[in-house]
């Protein structure tokens, strides 16, 4: 068994490895190289050194996008996870029609981000029209509009993960806790939450990186209006790349900075929540 595994290993691994190299490793390395270049098309780039990186940090819109994205991510991570967990708790009680509710809550996830963005733009503008305003009137509206949108989209998905986690809690553990006189809140805090910690790890990881990488929804909902004030990082990078002649390299440099940032935060978060997971 071991032997044949070793023998056929390359054959099984090769397609994935090749796809990963072509689809990820090569573009990634090329991207890093390009961030040090001035170019119009990616095939004829001219090396210019680290000048692009200086421009990145001299760009006010980038710094604004950075904290705007951070604020957005924090708000959305907290809201999505709390609400998803609450819904999951509700839907693991024996309520009639649970399966139907689960399906309905999950469905928004099946719609692409751009479409969602336009749908919510219509909905929210429809409401704001009563007050003679629109979503792009101020970046605050854009911010909360985006929060509402991603909550609607992602709560259902995270809910499924939490439900799986909650259902995996051994019944006897809860029962034992109750026998010992723990009331509902105590069971939640001292049994349920620690036991679903792996789900929390996954969900915070997903929501955190989703928040930072959000692009489609931002583009469709407000496209950064007004004055780039509702622009998240990914959109800022995109706009830099195409906004000015000769700024492709700067956009690329922003993308590298962006990657480092997301990687750092994701790894840090993973380490933090992993620590709190308990062994069954």
């Amino acid at each position: 068994m071991q032997k044949s595994l070793r023998k056929y290993f390359p054959i099984f691994a090769l397609p994935t490895l090749a796809a990963f190299t072509i689809g990820f490793i090569i573009p990634f390395l090329m991207g890093i190289y390009l961030s040090f270049c001035k170019f119009t098309t990616v095939t004829d780039a001219k090396f210019v050194g680290i000048g692009n990186y200086f421009k990145v940090f001299g760009d006010r819109t980038f710094l604004h996008a950075l904290w705007y994205t951070a604020a957005f991510t924090i708000v959305s991570v907290v809201l999505i996870n709390v609400l998803a967990f609450a819904v999951a708790m509700l839907l693991t009680k024996r309520i009639p029609g649970t399966n139907g509710f689960r399906t309905v809550f999950f469905m928004p996830n099946l719609i692409g981000g751009i479409v969602l963005g336009y749908i919510w733009q219509l909905l929210l503008n429809g409401i704001l029209a009563n007050y003679q305003k629109t979503l792009t009137y101020s970046s605050k509206y854009g911010f909360w509009g985006l929060v509402v949108l991603v909550c609607w989209q992602q709560i259902g998905y995270m809910m499924i993960i939490y439900i799986a986690g909650i259902q995996n809690i051994p019944g006897e553990l809860v029962e034992a806790a109750k026998m010992d006189g723990a009331h509902g809140g105590q069971v939640l805090w001292h049994v349920t939450v620690p036991m679903v910690m792996p789900s929390i790890t996954i969900c915070t990881f997903l929501t955190l990186t989703n928040g930072f990488k959000l692009f489609d929804q931002n583009l469709a909902l407000t496209n950064g209006e007004p004055s780039n004030m509702s622009e998240l990082l990914a959109l800022n990078i995109y706009n830099t790349f195409y906004g000015r002649t000769g700024y492709e390299g700067v956009g690329q440099a922003k993308a590298v900075v962006f990657f480092l940032l997301v990687a750092l935060i994701a790894v840090g978060q993973n380490w933090l929540t992993r620590k709190r997971e308990v062994q069954q």
């Binding site: 792009t136 009137y137 496209n223």
Partner: protein, 491 residues
């Protein structure tokens, strides 16, 4: 059982996410035309709904047409190696079909394969960037003017000896480098101004105490403002919602103001300085720009706080349904307007009077933002095939008929004689101004240093209109933004 349902759901979810991911990855900017699309578009004035976004792309209103990338007319048939082939990356989604038909016809006549691909609306520049990096790069592409050319000048074949250059009416329609290379040739001339509804103006003239008796009396900003203000005050009597169609600042519409309207103060300043382009501007006529903008947002169909969400389609619809009297746009807007409340015979166009210069003799704004460039890095036989194809397009009957009927372009080529002029009342209106000897205003906005400048001015205009910003912000975006963007783009 329950678990199985969940895992199925999860699996389905993952699959959908993957699919959605790919889909949006490719299309989002296409769709975004409707929502905005500043990213890559740029002032364009293309026939129909033009957007001004993207360097060369445009077409906000045609968001619906997005997504044509990948279609092609005729595939190669084996002779490609000998006679070369043509690959045209088309910029206007609304004309994709017409080009494909032409390509088919040309191939059946000559056997030379012609591939037409169309970038999704608002994504021309990004599509071009990736297509040009391929081995099979487009042999024919477009730039939007001098600024767009800056990115692509190293790819432009010298068109000095080509038929399209030789048949050009004037060198004004070519992009010629300082050392005399013909890098791009315009193929469509477009005109914009204040489109008006004659029927509504006549109705207004019939009212008691009307400020004018005939539309010809509007011959300057002062008169225009007087009339518009009066119309606005008596909108119930006239059965309209406002004098001007909404000055929407959604990206499908904001180019009408941050680019096309901005053209006027820039042009008059260039006139004063005696230059064609500038490293920095003073903003001499920004007060006039402000007056006009104030007029647009005050005598409007909607409250200024609603402007950020109003689209190009909204404005076109208001005008086409007879809810507004004036609508700043160009000859390309005809397709959006025709077939509704406003009869073709009621369409007219006034110059955009901002109260500067010799208004008596001011004409419409005429220019081009569509220049053909031939890729010099393509194999020589492909270059030859491309030049041959273009020659055929502007000289053959099929090509010229298609330009007239299907695309509706006015072209700068001498081969387009009287019978090949499109039947567009707005084009007729613009020709009338030229015949009357009025001075056309060129499209100097093609010298605007970058997209970012336009976006900065557009955002400042919007904030001023909403009351969340000051006019000084527009000024600084206009003047200081110009200097810094020029520097950023030319360092």
């Amino acid at each position: 059982m329950k678990k199985r349902v969940i895992s199925l759901l999860l699996a389905a979810g993952m699959a959908m996410l993957t699919v959605a991911g790919c889909g949006t990855g490719n299309n989002n900017s296409g769709n975004n035309a409707a929502g905005d699309g500043n990213a890559a578009q740029d002032g364009d004035g293309s026939s129909e709904g033009s957007g001004e976004n993207g360097d060369v792309s445009g077409n906000g209103q045609d968001g619906g047409n997005a997504g044509n990338v990948g279609d092609e007319g005729v595939s190669g048939n084996g002779t490609a190696a000998d006679n070369g082939s043509v690959y045209y990356l088309n910029f206007k989604p609304e004309q994709a079909e017409a080009w494909k038909d032409l390509a088919k016809e040309y191939t059946s006549e000559t056997g030379i394969p012609v591939t037409i691909e169309t970038a999704a609306s608002g994504t021309y520049e990004s599509t071009l960037k990736s297509e040009m990096a391929k081995d099979e790069a487009p042999s024919l592409f477009q730039v939007n003017g001098p600024v767009g050319l800056a990115s692509w000048k190293d790819y432009c074949y010298d068109l000095k000896d080509s038929a399209i250059y030789k048949n050009l009416k004037s060198d004004d329609f070519a992009l010629i480098s300082q050392d005399g290379q013909v890098q791009g040739v315009a193929y469509a001339i477009e005109t914009y101004g204040l489109i008006y509804n004659k029927a509504l103006i006549d109705k207004y003239c019939g009212l008691d105490g009307a400020k004018i008796q005939d539309v010809s009396e509007i011959n300057g900003f002062a008169k225009l403002k007087e009339v518009a203000d009066d119309m606005q005050a008596r909108k119930e009597e006239l059965g309209i919602n406002g004098a001007f169609a909404s000055a929407g600042m959604d990206s499908s519409s904001d180019w009408r103001f941050k680019t096309h309207l901005a053209n006027l103060p820039i042009y008059f300043e260039y006139q004063d300085e005696g230059v064609d382009t500038a490293e920095a501007v003073k903003g001499t006529y920004l007060d006039a720009y402000k007056n006009m903008w104030d007029l647009y947002i005050t005598d409007s169909t909607v409250e200024p706080t609603m402007l950020s969400g109003m689209t190009g389609d909204d404005a076109a619809a208001e005008f086409a349904m007879g809810e507004a009297v004036f609508y700043q746009n160009g000859t390309w807007a005809y397709a959006d307007i025709t077939g509704n409340e406003v009869a073709d015979g009621d369409l007219g166009m006034l110059p955009v009077y901002i109260g500067v210069g010799d208004e008596e003799n001011q004409g419409l704004c005429t220019g081009s933002e569509n220049y053909w460039c031939v890729n010099k890095n393509a194999p020589q036989e492909d270059i030859d095939a491309t030049l041959g194809f273009l020659e055929w397009v502007i000289t053959s009957d099929q090509g010229r008929t298609s330009f007239r009927d299907d695309m509706g372009f006015v072209t700068p080529f001498t081969t387009f004689t009287e019978e090949y002029q499109p039947l567009n009342p707005l084009v007729a209106a613009s020709n009338a101004y030229i015949d009357a000897g009025k001075d056309s205003i060129p499209w100097v906005f093609s010298t605007i240093p970058s997209e970012t400048w336009k976006n900065g001015v557009g955002s400042a205009l919007l904030e001023y209109a909403q009351g969340t910003g000051e006019w000084d912000d527009v000024k600084s975006a206009f003047v200081e933004g110009w200097a810094s963007e020029y520097q950023a783009a030319n360092e």
